[in-house]
Subunit: 113 residues, 2 copies
């Protein structure tokens, strides 16, 4: 038995930061492509692009930059801010998971929290 | 500008613990009734009852007890375990909010995180 923690931040601007968008950013970094990252998560290029755009608006600065064409056929790159967001989100997630284990572990002895 | 944090725990059993169910428990404690608590959240008695039942299964013990009929017309009461779950969830939520402020605050200066 295990348990999985999901943390979502709803900003007053209406934008949201959550596990799906962070995972997408990580996959863009790995694959070097928005469509490749979307494919790995079973979503269309358009959907993936909209999620990246929403993150850019939430942070007020680009997290991903794209190149069109050229010898390498274009591609996408996560910016320094994007990498910082990934690291900080993963860090707050780890801290929250520790708090969840501490608080709920005693009430859910079989859950391996 | 503000921000709102939502934390959901998905147990391997398929049960979930999240902000909606915890709020429902709190409202059952306040109103003394599952239907009253459901109404306050805009949901049917049946939906509210199913959420309580799901929490009972997640914890493996009752979080709410009900009385039928009698002079007072029945009602529902949150058990000691239910009150402990509310307190512990609110506590882990506060700890996670602090971690979120610490980690994401510098990247979202206008958000009042």
């Amino acid at each position: 038995m295990g348990a999985n923690l999901s943390i979502r931040i709803d900003l007053d601007s209406g934008e949201r930061i959550g596990p799906g968008k962070i995972r997408l950013l990580e996959l863009i970094e790995t694959t070097g492509s928005i469509s490749g990252a979307g494919r790995a998560m079973g979503m269309s290029y358009r959907r993936a692009w909209l999620l990246v755009d929403s993150l850019n608006r939430a942070l007020g600065a680009p997290l991903v930059t794209t190149r069109q064409g050229g010898a390498s056929g274009g591609g996408a790159q996560v910016t320094a801010l994007g990498r910082e967001l990934i690291a900080r989100y993963r860090s707050l997630e780890a801290e929250s998971a520790a708090a969840t284990r501490r608080e709920l572990g005693p009430l859910l002895p079989g859950s391996d929290l």
